[in-house]
């Protein structure tokens, strides 16, 4: 059930990319899709009543490995979030350049004004 809700967020982002005419709304749709994909990867690794995969002093390791959540998707999502920020900065610079070139954020106008 929770997987379906997460996928609905992805579809809303997809609707934002496909149907909207403003560049900023398209960027927001892509950003929503990033949220949903990262959330889905962490949802895959959740163990019921699990604890975070961080050891404390005096912990029993065998018992810890029976209770901890999956550390592998967390390691991948950690870098993915920061890289998403870098890609967002790149998209925003492209939007700024397009505004300077055409004077509008509307993508249908950009097809009409050539050169």
């Amino acid at each position: 059930m929770i997987y379906y809700l997460c996928f609905v967020i992805f579809l809303i982002g997809l609707y934002g990319v496909c149907c909207k005419k403003n560049i900023v709304k398209i960027i927001l749709g892509l950003w929503i899709m990033e949220y949903s994909v990262n959330l889905f990867l962490i949802l895959l690794g959740y163990r019921k009543n699990g604890i975070a995969p961080i050891l404390r002093r005096g912990d029993n390791i065998a018992e810890f490995s029976q209770k901890a959540v999956d550390p592998l998707p967390q390691a991948l999502v950690l870098t993915s979030i920061v890289i998403g920020l870098g890609v967002l900065a790149l998209m925003v610079t492209v939007a700024i350049r397009l505004y300077q070139r055409y004077g509008t954020f509307d993508i249908t106008e950009m097809r009409k004004l050539k050169g």
Binding site: M1, I2, Y3, L5, C6, V8, I9, L11, I12, L14, Y15, C18, C19, K20, V24, L28, I32, Y35, N38, L39, I42, L43, L44, G45, Y46, R47, K48, G50, I51, A52, P53, I54, L55, I61, A62, S65, A68, V69, D70, P71, L72, Q74, A75, L76, L78, T79, I81, V82, I83, L85, G86, L88, L90, V92, V94, I96, R97, Y99, T104, F105
Partner: protein
């Protein structure tokens, strides 16, 4: 636990729909912030504190960058004509996609029993059991990204470098060269 996560996900859905549908660009950018904020809280409930810290801080910086792009112009409201054919096509495609995904998501293990608990030889089990002994780090996630999978981190650092370089190359001020020729 599932109910709390479900309620927060419903709030995220409402927030993202509001953000995409509103006519004012400033409201759209501000409405995307609670989506990320609830996402960070969900990460805390799922036992991922490093990801929660990262998500919250990246949320703040993304708000600053997005506002920087749009708010210094005088164009903040937009009018859109509805393009009905494109809208119907997109909705039909999204509906079909959702039907197929319901079939695919059925094969996932149920929420709460991840696949590494069903198999004793999976890499996550090995990292959890031998992480402290082989790397000496108490935070298993740090041990994975910098010792077991360090090469991937090198690739990620390269991607960050390249994207910043690309953004710098696009925003170079080119006016100086043109005015020399005229």
């Amino acid at each position: 636990m599932e109910i709390i996560i479900g309620i927060l996900l419903v709030f995220m859905i409402i927030g993202s729909i509001i953000s995409l549908e509103t006519k004012d660009l400033l409201s759209a950018i501000i409405a995307i912030v609670p989506v990320g904020y609830f996402c960070g809280i969900i990460y805390l409930f799922l036992g991922a504190p490093d990801i929660a810290i990262t998500q919250m801080v990246v949320e703040v910086l993304s708000l600053i960058i997005l506002i920087r792009a749009t708010i210094r112009r005088d164009l903040t409201t937009i009018e859109e004509e509805r393009d009905f054919f494109g809208l119907i096509t997109t909705f039909a495609f999204i509906f079909v996609f959702f039907i197929f995904s319901m079939e695919a998501l059925r094969y996932l293990p149920p929420f709460g029993t991840p696949s590494f608990t069903l198999n004793n030889n999976s890499p996550s089990n090995r990292y959890l059991m031998n992480g402290l002994k082989e790397t000496g780090a108490a935070n298993i996630v740090s041990a994975i990204i910098l010792d077991y999978r360090g090469y991937d981190t090198l690739g990620e650092a390269t991607i960050l470098f390249t994207s910043i370089l690309g953004a710098l190359a696009i925003l170079r001020i080119y006016a100086r060269k043109r005015s020399k020729n005229e």
